[in-house]
């Protein structure tokens, strides 16, 4: 007995390690973890990765189609983009742009571009890629430009910051509300529980879009971007907390009846000790899983609000605001690349869902 026990590393593995081992077996969730991490690092280094100033407007380069970077030409390795040439489409009489193969603009790493503040601390103008000699009109537009000639690629990168952080902040707020109210509900039971549960049911029964519309319409339009941002997070989390409160309450009710909790009470442990030592560690993993499933819902909420013009307003940049441009079918027919702003939304939502799934399965390695 002791021989096999001593050999077994798993025998002395704690909860964290067991959860991790089990999580790693869920391939899709494991990949999703990296995708989510990638998105958040993009959010942190958005300005560094961006090529053009996301706010820079120039009508002379409106609706520029996506450009590719060419790595080789006749002379060998020579990364460059072709300049764009404007011409009139003789069928629609619209201004269209085609690449001009004779005009080569060399591309380098760590080029100088617009000025920004890295982490809000260091002022710099270094970007990951850029033209070696900045031009007035031509540039690198990997995903094309919108009506006002703003670079979609850079805008999508910068939008990541607001769209992903709004999810985090809202979930944080929901978590506080959810754990507090769900905990009270599960711990005290009786009338308090009844009241909290009915409130949750009422909130959940209200259709969300009209509710958001009502709340968002109440925001004064004199508010700054930052104020609106926080107001929106609060609006989103006012609804989001209900799900988390239910998870917490459910765990409380289940744990109260567990033999090991009763055992702790029978040896004379205080309520506080039972909560901190036995109950809390048993449901943190469930809460983390619930959070990772709540995050995509929050991100979607912000995107739909902004898409409908009820959330953030330009000049703020979020995925929802970018998609606002793609609302018009006529615009889309001429500039279909504007829909590309939906791709990161879909990818990050899927990744979060798989991640949440994996975490939920791994959350209780003893179950």
């Amino acid at each position: 007995m002791s021989g096999s026990l001593a050999d077994d590393k798993l025998a002395s593995a704690g909860q964290l390690r067991l959860t991790w081992l089990r999580f790693k077996r869920h391939k899709l969730a494991f990949i999703s973890l990296f995708i989510v991490a990638l998105f958040y690092s993009v959010a942190i280094f958005a300005d560094f990765l961006a090529i053009n100033d996301p706010h820079a407007v120039d009508a002379r380069r409106g609706y520029l189609p996506p450009q590719a970077i060419h790595f080789f030409d006749d002379s060998g390795f020579n990364p460059h983009v072709n300049g764009m040439k404007g011409q009139r489409d003789m069928k629609t009489f619209k201004q269209v742009y085609v690449p001009d193969p004779n005009k080569k603009l060399p591309v380098t790493l760590f080029a100088h571009g617009y000025r920004y503040e890295l982490f809000g601390l260091f002022s710099t103008d270094i970007h990951l890629i850029g033209l070696s000699t900045p031009q007035t009109l031509d540039g690198i537009y990997l995903l094309g430009t919108d009506a006002l000639g703003r670079d979609l690629f850079s805008r999508i990168l910068v939008a990541t910051r607001i769209s992903l952080s709004i999810g985090l902040v809202s979930v944080g707020l929901s978590l506080v509300l959810g754990i507090l109210l769900g905990g009270i509900s599960g711990l005290y039971g009786g009338l308090v529980d009844l009241f909290v549960q009915r409130v949750i049911e009422v909130i959940r029964s209200i259709p969300t879009i009209p509710l958001w519309m009502g709340l968002a319409a109440a925001l004064p339009n004199t508010w700054s971007v930052i104020q609106v941002y926080f107001a929106i997070t609060i609006i989103i989390s006012l609804i989001g907390w209900t799900e988390l409160a239910r998870v917490v309450r459910g765990r409380f009710l289940a744990l109260r009846e567990e033999d090991f909790v009763i055992a702790a009470e029978l040896v004379g442990a205080s309520q506080l000790r039972i909560m901190l030592r036995h109950m809390l560690p048993s449901f943190t993993s469930h809460v983390i899983a619930a959070v990772s499933l709540a995050l995509p819902a929050m991100i979607i909420s912000e995107t739909s609000l902004s898409f409908l013009g009820l959330g953030l307003r330009p000049p703020a940049i979020s995925w929802g605001i970018l998609l606002q441009d793609a609302q018009n079918v006529q615009v889309l027919a001429g500039a279909p690349w504007l829909l590309l702003a939906a791709v990161p939304v879909v990818v990050v939502i899927l990744a979060f869902n798989f991640l949440g799934d994996g975490l939920r399965d791994a959350a209780d390695p003893y179950g």
Partner: protein, 328 residues
Amino acid sequence: MNVLEVSGLSKHYPIVAGLMRREVGRVRAADDVNFVIQKGETLALVGESGCGKTTVARCILRAQRPTAGEIRFSPADGETIDLAPLSRRALRPLRRHIQMIFQDPYASLNPRMMVGDIIAEPLVVNGIPAAQRQARVLELLDLVGLPAVARLRFPHAFSGGQRQRIGIARALALNPRLIVADEPVSALDVSVQAQIVNLLLDLQDQLGLSMLFVAHDLGVVRHVSDRVAVMYVGRIVEVAPTVELYATPRHPYTRALLAAVPKSDPDARDAAEAPRGEVADPANPPPGCAFHPRCPFAIDRCRVERPELAEIAPGHFSACLRATELPV
């Protein structure tokens, strides 16, 4: 001298219905239960599922508050205190004297704590200094036959029998006067059951423990207990010293339970005595003796008159109108 005297213990669960949560009935999980446990003695509490034996055990541990009755416990020689009316706060200093061994060795150990911490928890909670805790944990592991390295492992590394040993070590940590074992072996394999039963017997010898041993199986009880109390639908129907109960059961229900114990000789099996029908509903027990619908000896009186527990031989109590008429 008695470590525990239970008198008139009842636990009723109200059945509520409707919007106003009106009480429409009561489940009498335990009804007027009386027994004593002497120092160093093991009393077995036996009955079918749902007869209220676990309820009685949990009331004594005050994991539940009894509806009525007294639970007089003596935490030290010459001292008695009624646990039944005490508040949660008042109970805390007394808890160390009564400890429990759980039925399910998988649910009763916190999977997130190392075995050493699980066993040390009663010591921590009751303010034993850290220096003594370590030594005591090692001593306890040795006592229940586990290697010292076990304290650094998590419960998931152990088998059911080993986990039950850990549970026993935790129960013994504070040197309790009374152990309440709620079906401590019924979740284990038969071969492991014997090991755990022997361990409990050894420990009782060494430590002079008093024990309430709850079981549904008369086979195991025979080896463990000094006296046996048989419960049926919330009431005790027979109490007797173990040897006497097995030799001359004085209640038809006890006879039926004994007949249900598996025997190795197929010819010796006694089909006629096995209990017929279902256990009565404790929310709606039959009038008279609760056992009469299943009893092969029932007479008309049994349907109207509820027999009280009466001493029919020295130390042998039975709640049957025909206790002395039963064939031996």
